[in-house]
């Protein structure tokens, strides 16, 4: 069983190397590697379902209490199977998507390397290993976003994504350091230490989760990351990497119990609504989906905070299938029209009805239409939030929003006026295979709620008739808003289009004060210190002039003599550096002998 | 090396196996060449060789020329001594046998260099240099493969490695190791198709071209003892050694060893001799990385099946 753990994390990495080494057969080897790598992950899920719990690791710093290793429990088993399955689907799809791309081996290897890091993240045992894989995931993601060399937005997008998540990761580092100094261990499952250190742990972990999961006000990087290839968006920015933040919350639930989870819940609820608003205002299909992801991840935060890990996990799994499908079918449309702008895509759904059907199924699932998967998971989130009225209301608004922002692009895609009958090009079969798999999963995953709760050892998921009814009403309201083309106040629309001014907010709260501080420092420097220095300088000039003549008379002559003598000494010493190896060696031996003698005499006396 | 593990009969036993094995290998060579195994022909040619006068190369390092067959014979016999023959019948049973065996084989290389250099003829020197290049390239896979094979037993003692195979021979568990091992041992006993130092068609006989009489006979004897040693080690490491049904252990081991030797001779007879540059580049660029893979595979198998 420990072997399976290491295989799950190691096989994708091996696959990445093999794919990179043999670019000619990259699609085939990548698909095979993803499939072979998925087998141990599924086996782990089965084993965990049978009640197996394993830990395999080694002591990293002996005596330091720092263990590095992998673990199998309900949460990691569910996550690893999700990651492996979505990864397999996306790699299969990518084999088609990158059919005409000359650097496809690099892209496919990058996907596999990312999978390896992600598997390590979800299987990691202890915060030290988790942190290491957390950073690896960030690096792999930045590399994939920056993949395109033609798109001018790719490199800035990667930098923004990397820097934003890195900044939030500082919270993780602070939390880990605080936890270690308070408890002397970085194992999972500890309770939060009391006092200021405990507060640092809670806050740091929540901030890290917010950064990775693109929660407001750090959500802008996700939009920028859409410059990456579409399969990358599907894998990283919907199903796996952004879910790492939610995973961190679920994994740290005992550490975060109390106010940190409340903070996370509030952030999630507000982000759910904000993300929905952003998604509604975007004119680019992938950015719509990015906004939707932000919103749905907010719902997961609420689910974890209000209902416990199982609720969040179910929504994570259901959302992973649905959102991956949406992105993948978006990629098919993108290939046919060479763009992801909604106006360019008008009628693309009619050109490719199979892809549109899959898009529809996944959209219905994410929009929480019964009986699809995300309907049930979102219902559990809503039912869990019922105890806290404010969250409940925000969740319902977000539910209405999700119906609206998914209906809008669907209508545009199905618009007959723009149909062109354009060909998708090479590689359609594997792409459709990937999309179809996610659509089927969006239907089938509806039943996994109870087994997932069982896997995590929780008795049942919260349900309530009231939330069920109100959710359906909210979905209806969202649909109605789009169909009736309800006018939105222009200021709200503008705000939503520009990411709810998150950048400006960060600018105002972080950048401006920093600038102001440096400006103040500058003034103090010029007025106070410079003037003093000037005065000292003028005084020094006077002294210097008076010394000048003393110097020329007496000191110069002495210095010249000294210099001449040093020069002669240098010439003598130069003879030591003969360039002859054996003379150096001889000097080294004599030196060593001298040291030996000194040591001996010191020891004797 | 410890006294308790070497009985008084050990030298006699090892020499007996060495000489007997060499004679049987001589018969096998006749069989492979398509002749009827005839003792008269075998001993007759040996006798004739002994009556030839020695050649005495007229160079300053000529003494190396006569030292080489001795070192070769010593290396071959030492290698043979580390092979586990049967539960009660083994040469030197070291707990580091799997290092000692390649260590003994490693001295074949300087011996052949001495032979070529001491002959003082350009072609012989070139033949020896080619041999050096070949053996340096193959020494690493040889040592690494022994590591891979020793992993399941958790011991470097050959006897333990034989015992760990009582159920499944190592050839089935670690086929890659066997694939890397066979060319390496063919090269180490300079058998065809890797017989660059002495093939008649290459460099006019190569490193051993000047050998006559007793020297030549000793080289031939050493080569046959080497073949017995590597065949025996192959049988022990990969074919479960003396384990087998019905027959007594020693007999099983003898059958397996002779089978391997016959197979090696037979294959060498039929395979074409590749160019030295191709062999060396293959050994460095393919066999060495694969040997690392073999070690990893051996470790994996150990973790899964043997721990």
């Amino acid at each position: 069983m420990p072997v399976l753990l290491w295989l799950t994390a190691g096989l994708p990495a091996v696959g990445a190397v093999i794919v990179r080494a043999g670019p000619r057969r990259a699609p085939l080897t990548a698909t095979l590697a993803a499939f072979i790598a998925a087998i141990p992950a599924w086996a782990l899920l089965v084993a965990a379902g049978d009640g197996r719990r394993e830990r395999s690791g080694f002591e990293w710093l002996p005596g330091g209490g720092l263990d590095v290793g992998l673990r199998l429990d309900g949460l990691s088993a569910a996550m690893t199977a999700t990651v492996a399955t979505v990864g397999l689907v996306v790699v299969v799809y990518s084999a088609g998507y990158f059919a005409d791309e000359p650097r496809r081996a690099s892209a496919l290897a990058g996907l596999l390397a990312f999978l390896a890091a992600m598997q390590g993240l979800v299987l990691a045992d202890g915060y030290l290993a988790l942190l290491a894989f957390w950073e690896l995931v960030g690096v792999a993601s930045a590399r994939l976003i920056a993949f395109s060399r033609d798109d001018p937005a790719a490199a800035p997008g990667a930098v923004r994504a990397f820097l934003t998540t890195r900044t939030a990761d500082i919270g993780f580092y602070i939390a880990v350091l605080a936890l270690f100094s308070a408890t002397g261990s970085l194992a999972f499952g500890a309770d939060r230490p009391a006092g200021a250190l405990g507060a640092l742990v809670g806050l740091g972990l929540v901030v890290a989760a917010m950064g990775k999961s693109a929660q407001a006000p750090l959500q802008t990087w996700l939009s920028a990351a859409m410059a990456g290839p579409t399969p990358v968006s599907a894998l990283l920015h919907s199903a796996t990497m952004v879910a790492a933040g939610v995973y961190l919350l679920m994994r740290s639930a005992p550490l975060l119990a109390g106010w940190p989870l409340q903070v996370a819940g509030w952030v999630g609820a507000l982000t759910a609504v904000g993300g929905a608003a952003i998604a509604l205002a975007q004119g680019d299909l992938k950015r719509v989906l990015a906004g939707s992801t932000t919103s749905q991840l907010g719902l997961m935060f609420v689910g974890v905070a209000a209902g416990g890990p199982a609720v969040g996990l179910f929504h994570l799994v259901a959302h992973a299938a649905g959102k991956a499908g949406l992105f993948l079918s978006a990629g098919i449309f993108q290939r046919s029209r060479d763009s992801t702008a909604l106006e360019e895509l008008r009628g693309a759904g009619r050109d490719d009805r199979t892809a549109f059907a899959a898009f529809g199924v996944c959209a219905l699932s994410i929009a929480a239409v019964p009986p699809l998967a995300a309907f049930w998971s979102k219902d559990h989130v809503a039912a869990a939030a019922e105890t806290k009225t404010a969250w409940f209301c925000l969740v319902l608004v977000a539910a209405a929003g999700s119906a609206a922002y998914l209906l809008r692009p669907a209508l545009v895609l199905w618009d007959g006026k723009g149909a062109r009958r354009a060909a998708t090009g090479r590689g359609r079969t594997p792409m459709l295979a990937g999309v179809g798999a996610t659509a089927v999963a969006s239907v089938l995953l509806a039943v996994v709620g109870a087994p997932l709760a069982d896997l995590l050892g929780e008795p049942s998921l919260p349900t309530s008739r009231l939330s069920l009814v109100l959710s359906l009403v909210a979905v209806g309201a969202g649909v109605a808003v789009v169909l009736t083309r309800l006018a939105v106040p222009p200021r709200v629309a503008a705000a939503a289009r520009s990411q709810l001014y998150a950048n400006e907010l960060l600018c105002l709260t972080v950048q401006r004060p920093l600038f102001a501080l440096s400006a103040a420092a500058d003034v103090a420097d010029r007025r106070g210190i410079d003037a003093f220095v000037d005065r000292v300088g003028r005084g020094a000039q006077v002294v210097a002039r008076s010394q000048d003549w003393i110097e020329r008379r007496g000191i110069d002559a002495a210095v010249d003599g000294l210099a001449r003598r040093v020069g002669r000494g240098g010439d003598d010493l130069r003879r030591l550096q003969s360039g002859r190896l054996y003379e150096y060696l001889r000097d080294a031996v004599l030196g060593a002998a001298a040291v030996g003698l000194i040591v001996t005499f010191t020891a004797l006396t | 090396m410890a006294a308790g593990r070497v009985s008084d009969l050990t030298p006699v036993a090892v020499l007996g196996v060495a000489l007997g094995g060499a004679v049987i290998v001589g018969f096998l060579e006749q069989v492979v060449a398509g002749l009827r195994p005839a003792p008269t022909a075998l001993f007759g040619s040996a006798n004739a060789a002994l009556h030839e006068p020695l050649s005495r190369p007229d160079v300053r390092d000529g003494w190396l020329f006569h030292l080489a067959p001795g070192l070769l014979l010593l290396a071959a016999t030492a290698a043979l001594a580390f092979v586990p023959w049967a539960p009660g019948f083994r040469g030197i049973d070291l707990s580091t046998g799997m290092i000692a065996f390649p260590a003994a084989l490693a001295y074949v290389t300087p011996a052949i260099f001495m032979a070529g250099w001491g002959a003082g003829r350009p072609l012989a020197v070139v033949g020896a240099f080619r041999w050096l290049a070949l053996m340096l390239a193959y020494a690493m896979p040889l040592a690494m493969v022994t590591t891979a094979v020793a992993a399941p037993a958790g011991s470097l003692r050959p006897v333990d490695i034989v015992d760990v195979q009582h159920a499944v021979p190592m050839a089935i568990v670690q086929p890659l190791a066997l694939v890397l091992w066979v060319p390496a041992i063919l090269a180490v006993c300079f058998l065809r198709p890797f017989d660059f130092p002495q093939a008649p068609g290459e460099l006019g006989g190569g490193a051993f071209s000047e050998y006559r009489g007793l020297d030549a006979a000793l080289v031939g004897l050493a080569q046959r003892i080497l073949l017995v040693a590597v065949s025996g080690m192959t049988a022990a490491l990969f074919l479960a050694g003396w384990h087998g049904p019905v027959l007594p252990p020693a007999l099983w081991m003898a059958v397996k060893t002779l089978g391997v030797a016959l197979l090696l001779l037979w294959a060498g007879e039929r395979l074409p001799r590749p160019g030295i540059d191709r062999v060396v580049s293959l050994a460095w660029k393919v066999a060495n990385p694969l040997a690392i893979v073999a070690i990893a595979w051996g470790g994996l198998m150990t973790l899964i099946f043997y721990s």
């Binding site: 003969s578 002859r580 060696l585 | -």
Partner: protein
């Protein structure tokens, strides 16, 4: 009979032989040979201590392993330097390789 001082004395003499080679030889490869002999003497020291003072110290054996590795590294880098120098100035005589002269 053999005892610790005897082993150490032998190692000392061997070290002196290596030192003579390293100092007195003109060819870079001969110098490397001298250094190898000196390292061999160092190993002999450790083995002597291992036998006569603390036989179960695995760290001593480990130290010898490291020295063997060091010998291989030293030889590999040394040969590479010799090849490189030989290619640049067609000689491996260290008397002629004096570019480092100050």
């Amino acid at each position: 009979m053999v005892s610790l001082p005897v082993v150490l004395a032998v190692a000392g003499v061997m070290f002196g032989i290596g030192l003579y080679g390293a100092l007195g030889q003109t060819n870079a490869i001969m110098v490397i040979m001298g250094v190898e002999l000196m390292l061999g003497a160092a190993m002999l020291n450790v083995v002597g201590f291992l036998r006569y003072s603390w036989p179960h110290a695995t760290s001593g054996a480990f130290f010898v392993l490291i020295v063997m590795t060091l010998m291989a590294v030293e030889a590999a880098v040394g040969f590479a330097l010799v090849v490189s120098a030989f290619r640049n100035s067609r000689t491996a005589e260290i008397d002629d390789l004096t570019e480092l002269k100050g």
